[in-house]
């Protein structure tokens, strides 16, 4: 039970990698990369969790009244989610350019084109 969150993170990462390697469509591959990213969020938050804790946001509770979870990993994750979305956008832009240049988004066909 105590390692289940870590194992879930490993599972998500490996599935994402499998999808990335066997994908026949670059847009699908970008989606798989987003799944891989999600595994890092799960791992980071699992490391920062504390039993019975609550969020260290003191707008509605008094400081010190309840145990709190780790804010540092949350800060890392939260910036990465938004930045990750813009990186996904950059990759999708690359896919559009590939489609314009080569007329296909299948990685196998692209390899044949290069010869």
């Amino acid at each position: 039970m105590t390692v289940l969150p870590y194992l879930v993170a490993v599972w998500i990462f490996l599935t994402g990698c499998y999808g990335l390697a066997t994908s026949r469509n670059l847009i699908h591959a970008v989606g798989c990369l987003a799944v891989c990213q999600a595994s890092t969020y799960v791992l980071l938050l699992a490391v920062g969790y504390r039993d019975g804790g609550t969020a260290p946001v003191y707008s509605d509770i008094k400081p010190g009244s309840r145990p709190v979870v780790d804010p540092v990993v949350q800060a890392l994750t939260l910036t990465d989610i938004v930045v990750g979305a813009t990186v996904t956008a950059l990759l999708l832009a690359l896919v559009m350019q590939i489609s314009k240049r080569h007329g296909t988004v299948d990685p196998d066909e692209l390899r044949e084109l290069r010869g």
Partner: protein, 150 residues
């Protein structure tokens, strides 16, 4: 673990679990409906969790989901209009059931909260959630019916 989180566990496990199954299998018309219902089911779950943890601050999440969940469905309704026009989804029974579930959760929480700013916020979230859910369903079943490219 209290009654609120227990209810949330059951509702999220069964409801969102079913939408995951619905979105991963079957024809396109079932998948878009499942996507719409996933946000409509998760939003009351977030409200229940906020109550269960005793943290009114968590309600902001439900507010954002009630606003942006239907927007996500509108994205699909708009960009898949041609595909959906051939085979439009008809799932009004499930949609109204889920909307009723959202209404019940919001009303129960309102009764517990008592009058005040928090209750107004809850009612706004409820209105946005149910209105958004119904409009998004409407959009899926022919909101962009005579769509051309654009």
């Amino acid at each position: 673990m209290n009654g609120w989180t227990l209810t949330a566990t059951v509702a999220l496990g069964a409801g969102v679990g079913a939408t995951v199954w619905g979105v991963a299998t079957g024809p396109l018309r079932r998948r878009v409906v499942a996507q719409n219902l996933s946000s409509a089911l998760a939003c009351p779950g977030l409200l229940l969790l906020a109550q269960g943890y005793g943290r009114p601050a968590y309600i902001d999440l439900a507010l954002v989901l009630a606003l942006l969940g239907p927007v996500g469905t509108l994205v699909f309704a708009r960009l898949l209009a041609d595909d959906l026009a051939e085979d439009p989804p008809h799932a009004w029974g499930v949609t109204f059931a889920v909307a009723g579930y959202g209404a019940v959760v919001v009303l129960v929480l309102c009764a517990v909260t008592g009058p005040g700013r928090a209750m107004v916020k809850l009612l706004v979230i409820g209105a946005l959630l149910i209105g958004g859910n119904l409009v998004a369903s409407r959009a899926l079943s022919g909101g962009f019916a005579r769509s051309r490219r654009g």
